[in-house]
């Protein structure tokens, strides 16, 4: 299986080389992909938790308003 291609532009020689990653570069690449996947999953989990919390808060506010309204109606509060 071929590895990702990288480009290197040497300014001194003005030479541009496209080649596959070597062992060290590929190991670093794979480590970064794994780290990025974890970070992305954590970010998505955080966003999902935030969205759930926001939804719960909105529901509580609506319920609270309804409850207050019913008490006012039942007790004759103005």
């Amino acid at each position: 299986m071929s590895r990702p291609i990288i480009r290197i532009h040497n300014i001194t020689t003005n030479e541009v080389i496209d080649r596959e990653m070597n062992d060290a570069e590929f190991a670093q690449y794979e480590a970064e992909q794994a780290a990025n996947a974890i970070a992305k999953a954590e970010a998505e989990a955080t966003a999902a938790a935030k969205a759930a919390l926001t939804s719960t808060t909105r529901h509580y506010r609506r319920t609270s308003k309804t409850f207050t309204f019913l008490i006012k109606e039942h007790c004759g509060w103005s």
């Binding site: 990702p4 291609i5 290197i8 532009h9 300014i11 001194t12 020689t13 496209d18 690449y29 992909q33």
Partner: protein
């Protein structure tokens, strides 16, 4: 005595551009024209109180490398010294919407710190101890991106460098402004910059020009 036209004629400038300048009260002399691109400068040590001198050098930008973005990363290596700052300009960046990262001297340790503002945020996103100088913006075929990275005093052997970057996605009308630092493990100048994407997607288009700034 004022220098009249007759007086100046009697002094007789010898060539185009020669000037008649006072040397003392009631006395004058010819100041020969200077070399091309020199400017007239006051100098009390000369007979006329004037001299021709090279113009003070101002800031300038010199293109030292250019090319196109290709593959999963592009490394611009063997960056020469001789400039104060370097300024990398990127145009038409297209990949799979991959957030664009920058790495210096191939350093993969947690040697980068950056603060970042996005177009729709009132808060600053900070990241210390990251493995690259990271944006949170990517470009694609439909929404290409442009930007720059500036490294101040890159050619000095030191452990810390100030870095500024700006990226604009001109299809999606969003931007990142990033400022931070890169910390060298050992004191050394910055001699390479690597541009790559967060998820390792290949660049499908884009160009770069590296400028040296005096």
């Amino acid at each position: 005595m004022a220098i009249t036209k007759a007086t100046a004629s009697s002094i007789a400038p010898a060539a185009k551009g020669d000037l008649v300048a006072g040397t003392a009260t009631n006395d004058a002399a010819v100041l020969a024209v200077g070399a091309n691109d020199t400017v007239l400068t006051a100098d009390s040590t000369t007979a006329t109180g004037l001299k021709w001198a090279a113009a003070a050098s101002g800031g300038s930008m010199t293109s030292i490398a250019s090319g196109s973005l290709s593959g999963t990363s592009v490394t611009i290596s063997s960056i020469p010294s001789g400039y104060r700052n370097i300024f990398l300009v990127l145009e038409n960046i297209q990949s799979n919407n991959d957030w664009v990262f920058f790495r210096f001297n191939g350093e993969t340790g947690t040697n980068y710190a950056r603060n970042l503002i996005t177009y729709n945020s009132t808060s600053i996103l900070s990241g210390a101890g990251t493995t690259a100088f990271k944006s949170v913006l990517g470009g694609s075929a439909n929404y290409p991106m442009c930007g720059y990275v500036e490294i101040l005093e890159y050619a000095t052997s030191k452990k810390g460098f100030n870095v500024n970057a700006g990226l604009v996605n001109y299809g999606a009308a969003s931007f990142n402004y990033i400022w931070g630092q890169y910390f060298n493990t050992t004191a050394a100048p910055i001699t390479s910059i690597t541009v790559f994407g967060e998820t390792g997607a290949s660049f499908s288009a884009g160009t770069y020009v590296l400028y040296g700034v005096k």
